[in-house]
C-alpha cells in the first residue's frame, strides 16, 4: 500500500462526502446507506495493489478463454 494513494483517495472520498451529504437530507435512509456503502467499497478496494491483482477481468478472461481460439488471441 502506498501512502500517497491512500491519502489521495481519502481526500477524494472526503470531498465527495462533503459535496453530496448536505444535498441528500430529504432522501430516504436507503439512499444514504447505498451512498455510504459504495464509498466504503471503493475505499477498501483502493487499499490494494489492484493493477497486479487478479480481478473481474481475470475471471472473465478465464470464462471466455475457449472462444479466444476463434481469433488465436493468445
Amino acid at each position: 500500500m502506498k501512502w500517497g494513494t491512500f491519502i489521495g483517495v481519502m481526500v477524494i472520498i472526503a470531498a465527495i462526502f462533503a459535496y453530496e451529504w448536505p444535498r441528500m437530507k430529504q432522501l430516504p435512509k436507503k439512499d444514504k446507506a447505498a451512498f455510504i456503502a459504495l464509498l466504503s467499497i471503493g475505499w477498501i478496494l483502493t487499499l490494494f495493489d489492484l493493477q497486479n491483482m487478479a480481478g473481474p477481468a481475470t475471471v472473465l478472461e478465464t470464462i471466455f478463454k475457449p472462444f479466444s481460439k476463434l481469433l488465436d488471441t493468445r
Partner: protein
C-alpha cells in the same frame, strides 16, 4: 420514477453514435486488418448486423415493457430473484465496461499526447466531467451529446484531404481467401456494435417512441458508414501496415496535409475526439448509475453517481497493468462478453417474454 427528464429520438441517436464510434475508431482498424487483411471494410459491414439486431431487441423489449429499463423488466420476465441476479450482472457489466472505456481513453492520450502526465489524472478528469453531467440526469447527458456529436462527426470530412495520397489498388484482391477472414475480423468490432443495446436505458425517456426507432436505425447506419469509411481510408493509405500500428487513425490524421504549409492536424482532431469520448463515458456512466439506482429501488440517482466514479476508476485499472493487457481484454474477452450481455441474453429475455405474452398471463 427516478428519472423525470425527457429526451427526443434525435438526441438519443446523437448519443449512441459516439458511444460506439469514439473508441472503435482507435482499435477497430488494426484489429480487423489483422484478421481480414485488405477485406477489413467488409468486416465492419458484417459487424454492424449485430448493431441492428441488438437495437431491434431493445426496441421490442421496450414495446412489451414501456417505461422500464432492462434492470426493471428482467425481474418481470424471469422469476424475481433470477431477475435481480441478472440485473446485478448487467450492472457489473456496464460498470466494468465504463472502466475499460476510461482506460482505453487514458492509454491513448498518454501514449500519443501526454506521456509525462500520470494516467490517473487523464482518466479521472474526464470521469469527473461526466459525473457532473450524469448527476443532472438524462437531459443534460442528451443535450451535451447533441452538441458534441455534431462537432465529433466533423473530422471525418478532414479525411477527404487524404484522397491524393490514397492508393485505390490496395483494396484488391477482394476476398482473396473467401469470406472467412472478414468474418473473423468482424468478431471484435461486433462487440462495439452490440453496445447499441444501451438504448434500452434511454427508450423509456423518449417523448416520441416512433422517432426513437427511426433515430436508432440512423445511428447504427451512421456508425457502420463511418467505421467502414475510416477502415477503407486507412487501408488505401497504409496498405498492409495497418495491423502493425497501435492507433492507425492517429497516423492517418497526422498524414493530412493541405497545401504545403497546413499540416499537423492531429492536435485539433484529437481535441475533438475527446468530446466523443466524453459522450461515450457519460452514456455508459449514466446507464450504470441509473441501473444501480433502479436495482436498489432508490429515490434518486444522485447519491450513487460520485461513489460509482471511484469504482469505475478501480475497474479501469484492476488486473490491467499494461496497454497489451487492455488490448487482450478487448479482443479476447470483451469481444464475446459484450455481445453475450447485450445481444444474446436480451434475445433470450425477449423470447421468454413473447412466450409468456402468448399464454394468458398467470401473474
Amino acid at each position: 420514477m427516478i428519472e423525470k427528464g425527457k429526451i427526443s429520438g434525435m438526441q438519443m441517436g446523437f448519443m449512441m453514435y459516439p458511444t460506439v464510434v469514439s473508441t472503435a475508431i482507435l482499435m477497430v482498424p488494426s484489429v480487423t486488418e489483422k484478421y481480414a487483411h485488405n477485406d477489413l471494410w467488409i468486416s465492419t459491414l458484417l459487424a454492424s448486423l449485430v448493431g441492428f439486431i441488438s437495437m431491434y431487441i431493445a426496441y421490442q423489449l421496450h414495446r412489451l415493457y414501456p417505461n422500464q429499463t432492462v434492470i426493471q423488466y428482467s425481474v418481470h420476465i424471469i422469476p424475481r430473484l433470477a431477475g435481480k441476479v441478472l440485473g446485478l450482472l448487467f450492472l457489473f457489466f456496464y460498470l466494468h465496461s465504463t472502466g475499460a472505456v476510461v482506460r482505453e481513453y487514458a492509454d491513448f492520450i498518454s501514449d500519443a499526447f501526454l506521456p509525462q502526465t500520470p494516467m490517473i489524472f487523464i482518466a479521472s478528469s474526464l470521469l469527473l466531467l461526466s459525473a457532473f453531467s450524469v448527476r443532472y440526469g438524462v437531459e443534460s447527458v442528451a443535450r451535451s451529446a447533441f452538441i458534441f456529436t455534431i462537432i465529433f462527426a466533423f473530422p471525418v470530412i478532414f479525411l477527404l484531404l487524404l484522397i491524393p495520397d490514397l492508393t485505390p489498388g490496395n483494396i484488391l484482391p477482394v476476398m482473396e481467401h473467401g469470406i472467412l477472414p472478414s468474418l473473423r475480423g468482424a468478431i471484435v468490432p461486433q462487440s462495439w456494435f452490440s453496445e447499441f443495446f444501451m438504448i434500452s436505458f434511454f427508450l423509456p425517456f423518449l417523448s416520441d417512441i416512433r422517432k426513437g426507432r427511426k433515430w436508432g436505425l440512423i445511428s447504427v447506419f451512421a456508425a457502420m458508414i463511418s467505421l467502414t469509411t475510416i477502415n477503407l481510408t486507412i487501408l488505401l493509405l497504409f496498405g498492409d501496415r495497418v495491423s502493425g500500428m497501435s492507433y492507425p487513425v492517429l497516423n492517418a490524421f497526422r498524414y493530412i496535409r493541405m497545401g504545403v504549409f497546413f499540416e499537423n492536424f492531429e492536435a485539433i482532431i484529437m481535441a475533438i475526439w475527446i468530446l466523443g469520448n466524453f459522450v461515450k463515458v457519460s452514456v455508459f456512466y449514466y446507464s450504470a448509475s441509473l441501473g444501480l439506482a433502479q436495482w436498489l429501488n432508490l429515490k434518486d440517482i444522485k447519491p450513487v453517481v460520485l461513489p460509482l466514479g471511484i469504482l469505475i476508476i478501480i475497474f479501469a485499472y484492476w488486473s490491467l497493468p499494461s496497454f497489451q493487457d487492455v488490448t487482450y481484454y478487448l479482443t479476447g474477452t470483451f469481444a464475446y462478453y459484450g455481445p453475450l450481455m447485450q445481444t444474446i441474453i436480451p434475445a433470450c429475455l425477449l423470447s421468454i417474454a413473447f412466450v409468456r405474452r402468448k399464454r394468458p398471463s398467470s401473474s
